[in-house]
């Protein structure tokens, strides 16, 4: 991956995805669920961007809106040169082979009435005019790539285990030789011992085929393992976007800090010593987000400005983007304090 040119394959600018709420007798448009509210990032070719956050923060919606599985409300999504958000239906169809998705639930994302061969060759059916034999040959090739025995080619999804089903989902995503794949919680439904198998497969495929991933997950330790850069989302917005090694060593945004401190490390000694940051309360509703910073209702270090002004995502250290008033000009003293505190925090 080192020889990959450092150009972004994917650029997302100010992506918004609002779902309208209709209510009352006349089903009037009374509000919006702002599932994604102004998200920007880019992903370098051949790299993995981790997108983490808790359920309802909008991370899956980002992935779906990027591939136009939803019609984005606003923003640009440039994938390999084209703005996917505004492509005409015909141009979008031609673009589909470049960008694919692996879904969370392999049980629900595979048609139970189709065999493995039918599932994996369906994209070929749609986008190529190959003969039956050519398609079958490609299916076999894909089965080899994802580690499925060729004998299983005529089996149905229910005859496979969870891990194998996820391999089928991956084979289907690979069928048209995409350059960019959105992996939406691909291991969340799998047992621990099976997760590692699928993650290693995704890594091998990335290396071999030069794939670019958006890896959406709530599993912070797995994201650390997989991603070069990580975006932490909270209530429809990015709180922090940092290189993985920096984020895990020293999170800057208070939410990123709390999220990392909540992860349970399989080490009793560490667990006994560690000071967790326990956040109070629940995530506010995205239909009615707080006026200022989205995190101000739970932030342990909230200031007055946080309740009135939404912080922008700004570069506060080389390569590190944070949306927090602690780090902007007005709160610059706060920033240096925070750094100090974090560095002490590291040693705990």
């Amino acid at each position: 991956m080192l020889d990959a040119p450092a150009t972004p394959l994917v650029q997302v600018q100010d992506l918004k995805m609002h779902f309208p709420i209709y209510s009352g007798l006349f089903r009037r448009h009374t509000g919006d669920v702002k599932a994604v509210d102004g998200v920007s990032f880019d992903i370098l070719a051949g790299q993995t961007l981790g997108l983490v956050g808790e359920s309802g923060c909008g991370k899956s919606t980002v992935g779906r809106a990027m591939l136009r599985l939803y019609e984005p409300t606003a923003g640009r999504v440039v994938i390999d040169g084209d703005d996917v958000a505004t492509l005409s239906p015909e141009a979008l169809r031609k673009k589909r082979p470049t960008m694919q998705m692996v879904f969370q639930d392999p049980q629900a994302s595979l048609n139970p009435r189709m065999t493995l061969a039918e599932i994996v060759s369906e994209p070929l059916e749609e986008h190529t005019n190959w003969t039956r034999d050519q398609k079958l040959e490609r299916v076999y090739e894909l089965m080899d790539q994802v580690g499925l025995n060729r004998r299983f080619v005529n089996r149905f999804p229910h005859e496979f285990s969870g891990g194998q089903r996820q391999r089928i989902g991956i084979a289907r995503a690979l069928a048209l030789k995409p350059r960019f794949i959105v992996c939406d919680e691909p291991i969340a439904a799998l047992d621990v011992s099976i997760q590692a198998q699928v993650v290693n497969l995704l890594e091998d495929l990335q290396e071999k085929l030069g794939l670019t991933y958006l890896f959406i997950s709530h599993d912070l330790s797995m994201v650390r393992h997989l991603a070069q850069r990580v975006a932490v989302m909270y209530l429809g917005r990015i709180a922090e976007l940092s290189p993985s090694k920096d984020l895990y060593a020293r999170p800057l945004h208070p939410y990123a800090e709390a999220l990392l401190s909540a992860v349970n490390e399989p080490d009793p000694e560490l667990a006994a010593r560690r000071n967790r940051i326990i956040l109070k309360g629940d995530v506010p509703s995205p239909a009615n987000p707080p006026k200022g910073c989205n995190f101000c209702t739970r932030c342990p270090r909230v200031m007055d400005i946080c309740r009135t002004v939404k912080p922008d995502l700004l570069e506060v250290e080389p390569g590190r983007l944070v949306a927090c008033h602690l780090y902007t000009a007005a709160g610059s003293t706060g920033a240096s304090e925070a750094n100090e505190r974090n560095q002490q925090g590291e040693t705990r």
Partner: protein, 340 residues
């Protein structure tokens, strides 16, 4: 807890079989463990390892048929739950033993208010009047950290978030001051920050109320933070048991070792390649006549195919009190090999 704690729950050779059209599935195979007052026992295993079925069997919560408890004893304060009449058992469920189920979304009845659901065990088991039960319900909701408890009592489950519902489930399980609380993956469906809240809550409640807890999970990280002792299950049996620090510092069973190595960490050096346990968990048709882990084990040898290994102590303590493991490779073969 200064005095030596008494054993509240003693499970011996529990055996549960499901009769299905495809034959018998041996889900729980001679599982034994005990629990002392104020202690937290962690039960780890992946789906199908028998951990939930074991706990459901204790209170005979499984529908029969297809479930059939073939043998064993479940002694709660010396009385065998498996030998009790249904009426007697009903006085134990919810009163002496509380149960928190995995999914807070489906375990609450959507058409009753929370108040009704928390008060139900209080009225049935504790014979409290409605107003007494209501006062106690408010107390319980406050105990589990739900603000505005008095108003919340009149609300329905859909008005609560996942974390809040799990707190309510814990409140219901705690309602009658049970001696034993069984929590079946209580935080699995929750986000990490909410999970951290619940784990803190459980630690605090344990300090305050001193109850014994069985905590079922597949997350070794959670176990490391809260358990006193850990029992690792695989193929419907206990494959390793040890005090928590000993287990993480000195894991013996190849499954436990591999499991600990498959999880990436958020501290320390970044893993370059995840260790993989190849293969799939076993299908438990028929009684176990060989080690259930053998097909995935890197240390497999002849004996593993011939004999299902019994639990053997590796520190000289009686089984279930210290560190024991069910593996031919570990004990005593490896010790002998080491000496040879």
């Amino acid at each position: 807890m200064a005095e030596p704690a008494a054993t509240v729950l003693d499970v011996r050779d529990l055996k549960t079989v499901f009769r299905t059209r495809g034959g018998e599935v041996h889900a729980v195979n001679d599982v034994s463990f005990h629990l002392k007052r104020g202690e937290l026992l962690g039960v780890v295993g992946e789906s199908g390892s028998g951990k939930s079925v074991t706990m459901m069997s204790l209170l005979r919560l499984l529908p029969s048929p297809p479930a059939d408890i073939r043998g064993g004893k479940v002694l709660l304060d010396g009385r065998d739950l498996l030998a009790m009449s249904d009426d007697e058992l009903r006085s134990v469920r919810g009163a002496k033993v509380g149960f928190v189920f995995q999914d807070p979304m489906t375990s609450l009845n959507p058409v009753f208010t929370l108040g009704d659901q928390i008060m139900e065990p209080l009225i049935k088991h504790m014979r409290l009047s409605r107003s007494q039960a209501q006062a106690r319900a408010i107390e319980l909701l406050e105990l589990v950290g739900i603000p505005g408890a008095a108003q919340r009592l009149h609300q329905y489950p859909h008005q609560f978030s996942g974390g809040m519902r799990q707190r309510v489930m814990i409140a219901i399980a705690l309602a009658c001051d049970p001696d034993v609380l069984i929590a079946d993956e209580p935080t699995t469906a929750l986000d990490v920050t909410i999970q951290a809240q619940i784990l803190e809550l459980v630690k605090e409640l344990r300090r305050k109320l001193g109850m014994a807890i069985i905590w079922i999970t597949h997350d070794l990280g959670v176990i490391a933070g809260i358990a006193d002792r850990v029992m690792v299950m695989y193929g419907g049996q206990v494959v390793e048991h040890a005090p928590v620090r000993e287990l993480f510092a000195n894991p013996q069973h190849p499954y436990t070792r591999a499991l600990l190595q498959t999880i990436p960490r958020i501290t320390g050096p970044r893993t370059t390649r995840l260790k993989v346990i190849e293969g799939q968990p076993p299908i438990l048709t028929g009684p176990l006549t060989a080690c259930p882990f053998r097909a995935r084990c890197e240390h497999r040898f002849d004996t593993c195919d011939a004999v299902n290994p019994p639990r053997r102590a590796i520190d000289g303590a009686p089984i279930g009190l210290g560190h024991d493991v069910a593996c031919h490779w570990v004990a005593p073969a490896r010790q002998e090999a080491a000496h040879a």
